[in-house]
């Protein structure tokens, strides 16, 4: 086959000419590829965005971390009386924290935290939020950074100072006009002095999905003294008292390999001391692995959908090319009589199929880049269009053109010139 660049260029031009002679038909044919390629890229972008979000969330929890949360144990339904009053005691204890420290000396940081729902108030501004009683090294277990002032200190904890550090978003909500450092903040009746502000994303508690929770951080000892061990919860028709010493413990394993064994040992140890199932161990690393596995399955499913939609697009191309070959039988005969070889005819029709699918691919890529943007703007979902997905989609559209263009092209070339010339 003497396919020089020059010949390729002329054949390409010949193909585009004949496609442009039937603009609507060409466009409709390419539409299958356009939608196929566009949806592949868009879906991959949404999938990639979701998995990025998941990984980001997990990363925020710390890949070497083991997070133990207190959970309310499942309980039997208690009667049908409208007013229920009881006291539930559950969760992690100071004793647990102490035991872990003694039994696992290689666990680096241990961040105990105690979460108390609280109404924050400054002047007339009231904000439902929560007070987190914690230790000075709390930040090292999160991805948050200090923005201004200082974090809690050992001295704060030792003397149970009435100081607080504002979590992300709190400063703006409570002090819209003021600079909060040194100002007073009320939690219930207690007043606290703001000593610092942190920024970043809070990654605490079982309901950590809620990004914009208003959190303030106070010394653990202060929280214990001010709020006691019991927390009262009032809901419609219910009055509940919960006694929880610690809501969360964050452990940092010395290495990623040690994360799972340490988590398992801690679980066994805690089970031994807890009568009820009132804690939950989260290992971000395992979540990460799960997220990766989910992503793989997601990609396989998307891949199949993509394959089917491109198959449909390809069949559309093949259909039109077959019709075109029949319609242009006479032209094929003329070209053959004037000296075109079978290869010349194959190339001519293959070029048309390829141009069709390539043009479809390019427009589809445009759509595949545009749709995720719309999704981000209107549905507030993170989307990531990776260069790999663009390359893949482009390669697939070329392959579709080749695969579905070759048969009609071969059929065109196989006709005898005499028969073709006689065709009306």
């Amino acid at each position: 086959m003497t396919l020089t660049l020059f010949k390729a260029e002329r054949i390409t031009r010949l193909g585009s000419r004949s496609l442009l002679d039937h603009k609507l038909r060409s466009f409709l044919t390419a539409l299958g590829i356009i939608f196929g390629v566009g949806s592949v890229i868009a879906m991959l972008a949404i999938g990639e965005g979701a998995s990025f979000e998941a990984r980001e969330q997990i990363r925020r929890l710390g890949s070497n971390n083991i997070i133990i949360n207190a959970v309310k144990p499942p309980e039997q339904a208690t009667g049908s009386s409208a007013e229920t009053k009881r006291m539930s005691v559950y969760g992690l204890t100071y004793e647990d924290a102490h035991r872990i420290q003694v039994l696992f000396p290689d666990v680096r940081v241990m961040v105990p935290a105690r979460v108390v729902p609280a109404r924050l108030r400054v002047g007339d501004i009231r904000l439902p939020g929560r007070a987190v009683g914690t230790v000075p090294w709390f930040l090292s277990g999160t991805t948050m950074r200090l923005r201004a002032g200082r974090f809690l200190t050992d001295a704060d904890v030792q003397s149970a100072e009435n100081v607080c550090v504002l979590g992300p978003a709190v400063a703006k909500a409570l002090y819209p006009l003021d600079w909060p450092l040194g100002k007073a903040l009320y939690v219930g009746r207690g007043s606290y002095t703001v000593v610092g502000i942190v920024e970043g994303l809070p990654g605490l508690g079982p309901d950590r999905k809620q990004k914009d929770q208003y959190e303030i951080y106070v010394p653990l000892s202060t929280a214990r003294k001010r709020f006691g061990e019991a927390v009262m919860k009032r809901e419609t028709g219910t009055f509940e008292v919960e006694k929880v010493e610690l809501h969360q413990l964050t452990l940092t394993a010395p290495s990623p390999e040690a994360v799972v064994p340490v988590a398992n040992s801690v679980r066994t140890m805690l089970r031994h001391f807890h009568k009820q199932n009132d804690f939950e161990i989260t290992v971000p690393l395992e979540l990460l692995k799960q997220a990766e596995a989910t992503k793989r399955i997601f990609n396989i499913v998307l891949g199949s959908i993509a394959a089917i939609s491109l198959l449909v697009g390809g069949i559309g191309i093949m259909n039109i090319m077959l019709a075109s070959v029949t319609e242009r039988t006479r032209e094929i005969g003329i070209r053959r009589a004037l000296g075109a070889t079978r290869e010349d005819i194959v190339l001519q029709f293959l070029a048309e199929a390829l141009i069709l699918s390539l043009a479809g691919g390019v427009i589809g890529i445009g759509m595949g880049i545009g749709i995720p943007r719309l999704v981000t703007v209107f549905a507030h979902l993170k989307t990531i269009v990776t260069p790999e997905s663009l390359t893949l989609a482009f390669a697939i559209s070329v392959a579709t053109g080749l695969v579905f263009g070759i048969y009609p092209a071969m059929r065109a070339a196989a006709m005898s010139p005499i028969e073709a010339l006689r065709h009306e």
Binding site: K7, R10, E331, I334, R335, R336, A337, R342
Partner: protein, 234 residues
């Protein structure tokens, strides 16, 4: 006759062509022999079914014979494969068809360029050659038009220009006036006569005596054989 065969542009010996027709075979050509010298003006005549279309297809290298030999310009084309036959058509043959056979989607200029396209000519060269040829047949001002915008006679002139594009050894004209009225038919014949006058070899297939009368030699076919080989003296 055999003595002059070295220079003959067409040399046909014992040419046969069989078509399978169900169980039977139809013998369209039953052993034809003749030669055509360069510059000859030959008309092939015969009734329908005489085998003249079959002969034209073989002469035009659109088909291969079942038996016998065919040398075109010294090349044995009887046993060539499709690829080689395409090359011979591209280099040595110019076709003029009864129904013009122009490609309707492209311009006159591009139609004339088709043979050059497959010869691998560059665009600038083929464009100037096509302009030259269009002027030769008196259509220099219609280069940008489409075939459908031309009259029958004009279309056939374009077809003649196209047949000349590759500077062929022989021009095969299959009933070139069959779709034209007698006046335009005469114009076309004048052009063909002119080509012979310039030294080209023209083989004409027709069933009209008036048309055959233009040629200097008439080959009568009947039943797949040469009936008469006449050289009427002008």
């Amino acid at each position: 006759m055999a003595a002059a065969s070295v220079d003959a542009v067409i040399r046909v010996e014992g040419l046969t062509k069989d078509y399978p027709m169900g169980q039977d075979t139809v013998q369209a050509l039953r052993g034809l022999s003749f030669q055509v010298q360069p510059g000859e003006y030959l008309a092939i005549m015969g009734h329908s079914g005489s085998g003249k279309s079959t002969l034209l297809n073989l002469l035009g290298c659109l088909d291969t014979p079942s038996g016998g030999a065919y040398h075109l310009d010294g090349e044995d084309v009887a046993n060539m494969d499709d690829r080689e036959l395409s090359r011979v058509r591209r280099e040595k043959i110019g076709f003029v068809f009864q129904s013009f056979n122009l490609i309707p989607q492209i311009t006159i200029c591009e139609n004339i360029e088709v043979p050059l396209f497959y010869k691998g000519w560059h665009e600038r060269q083929s464009r100037s050659r096509s302009r030259e040829l269009a002027e030769l047949v008196g259509l220099g001002d219609r280069l940008r038009h489409r075939p459908t915008e031309l009259s029958g006679g004009q279309r056939q002139r374009v077809a003649i220009a196209r047949a000349l594009a590759n500077d062929p050894k022989i021009i095969l004209a299959d009933e070139p006036t069959g779709n034209l009225d007698s006046k335009t038919g005469d114009e076309i014949m004048t052009i063909l006569d002119g080509l012979v006058a310039q030294g080209r070899t023209v083989v004409l297939v027709t069933h009209e005596h008036d048309i055959a009368a233009h040629a200097r030699r008439v080959l009568w076919l009947a039943d797949g054989r040469v009936l008469r080989d006449e050289r009427p003296t002008p």
